[in-house]
């Protein structure tokens, strides 16, 4: 199911890549994006610890934007 959804997304992205794309948010329009309150991981050491607790208490893993791997969650 997840893989099928991803394949569909990949096709859509591939189609979009066939046409020229210009940046629609100019660099001078990114002051809000650069604000610290817009960060997915503002404080990595603290965020990682909370992820660790979730991993410990739940069977699910991954899909959180972290490119690390493995768990060893016996």
């Amino acid at each position: 199911m997840i893989l099928r959804g991803l394949l569909l997304l990949a096709v859509l992205v591939s189609l979009a890549a066939c046409s020229p794309i210009k940046p629609w948010v100019k660099p001078y329009e990114r002051q809000k994006i650069a604000d610290e309150i817009m960060s997915f991981e503002r404080d990595p050491i603290a965020d990682a610890y909370l992820h660790h607790v979730f991993d410990a208490r739940e069977a699910a893993r991954g899909g959180d934007g972290a490119s690390g791997g493995g768990c060893g969650c016996n």
């Binding site: 997840i2 997915f40 404080d43 965020d47 208490r57 991954g62 934007g65 791997g69």
Partner: protein, 402 residues
């Protein structure tokens, strides 16, 4: 070395679950901090005290992170983490006695920036008296379309050795692999989004059919003994676990200076577990020095195909599990936190410093995991009350930028 009773260690692994992954996630987050532009991450030092208290287990300890740039293209970081465990969880109370233990891990990561690409690597090692884990990670990010889009690929290789305190000859080799794809997008000048897909495989090596490596070697399952009561036998797991996870995250800058963040994740694995979770997080600055955060998260999962709280008889299936983390359950988490920006100059040598306190409360209701600590005289086997768990998690940390 002190040898713990067999079941004493049962909850040891339960409360320590995912320790190995914790640093991996952290190293990835370090690298992900530059997701929306090909720039090196901030140079900083973080000193964290972490505390977990719930379900009879208390785990706390320090974690220290140092991240430094070398020249204009290289960033390196190091992390040291300690878990001090004092456990009397439900598994321990049912079949053993409380115990205390310590676990240490260390890791290093780095990244090298070339134009709009970033190469990333990581190494971590976790050691405890019955479990060693080593993991290597590698990844690459590339930004496109004037840095509006960032596409990343990652892979990790893990080699674990699972031991058992009561049997010095017990040794299980576990091989872990994980492949990740991540796409981050500046959608508008107020909206960021990120889509992540992970595919992971855990594989036991060189085992016979009656051996396992993916379970806690101290944990047992219950089965009916034919006379109204129950007995225990060891768990037995498949030798392989494959899982896929797809996550979507977004942050929106509100019309005033505050942000709201949403996260959705879908997970499924080869053991029959399907899980979903959703989270909302609101971040609100107050004045120039304070940042307040409120969070609400829900999580729901189905149970593994071979999970049962009480099997009908001994060796009822080829695979047997009674790990409550593999049972069907739902949970909610609420979180509150505050960051205080320490006035510049108050702490010399640092450009910026913050003091942070975050609290999260977990409330987990298990749908098919019963509290076997009750007296058999009061409850028939399989009629015990369902278990629920409440836990509080504290993160107190100081961050320094230089």
């Amino acid at each position: 070395m002190r040898v713990k009773p067999r079941a004493v260690v049962m909850a040891h692994r339960e409360v320590a679950v995912a320790v190995i992954n914790r640093w991996l996630i952290m190293s990835a987050m370090l690298l992900a901090s530059s997701t929306f532009a090909a720039v090196l991450p901030d140079e900083r030092i973080d000193v964290l005290y972490h505390g977990y208290d719930g379900g009879g287990a208390e785990i706390d300890g320090p974690s220290i992170l140092v991240r430094k740039n070398i020249g204009t293209a290289v960033s390196v970081s190091a992390n040291y983490y300690v878990d001090m465990v004092s456990s009397a969880s439900i598994d321990v109370q049912a079949t053993a006695s409380p115990y205390s233990e310590e676990r240490k891990e260390s890791g290093f990561s780095g990244q090298y920036m070339i134009d709009r690409s970033t190469l990333k690597f990581g190494y971590t090692q976790s050691k405890e008296n019955d479990y060693d884990a080593t993991t290597y990670t590698f990844g690459i990010d590339q930004s496109f379309f004037g840095d509006l889009t960032t596409l990343g690929f990652g892979v990790s290789f893990g080699e674990d050795i699972v031991g058992q305190n009561t049997d010095p000859t017990y040794k299980r080799d576990l091989q872990r692999r994980k492949y990740s794809v991540n796409a981050s997008q500046i959608v508008t000048k107020n909206l960021l989004a990120s889509l992540s897909f992970d595919s992971a495989t855990d594989q036991c090596l060189n085992l016979t059919d009656d051996q396992s490596c993916l379970n806690n070697p101290y944990r047992s399952v219950r089965y009916l003994n034919g006379t109204g009561g129950y007995l225990y036998q060891r768990e037995l797991y498949p030798h392989t676990r494959n899982s896929d996870a797809l996550g979507l995250r977004a942050i929106y800058y509100l019309p005033y200076r505050a942000s709201i963040r949403a996260e959705l994740r879908k997970f499924s694995d080869s053991w029959g577990i399907d899980a979903d979770n959703a989270e909302l997080r609101y971040l609100h600055p107050y004045g120039e020095r304070f940042l307040f955060e409120v969070k609400y998260r829900i999580y729901d999962q189905t149970g593994a195909d071979f999970y049962s709280d009480l099997f009908p008889y001994r060796d009822a299936q080829n695979f047997l599990a009674r790990d409550k983390e593999l049972s069907p359950f739902s949970s909610t988490t609420i979180g509150l936190g505050v960051t205080y920006k320490i006035p510049a100059g108050f702490i010399p040598w640092f450009d910026k410093s913050t003091a942070n306190l975050y609290w999260d409360h977990f409330d987990i209701d298990y749908d098919d995991f019963r509290d076997a600590r009750v007296s058999p005289a009061d409850y028939a086997a399989g009629e015990e009350p369902l278990y629920s768990l409440q836990a509080d998690v504290i993160r107190l940390y100081f961050s320094f930028w230089f």
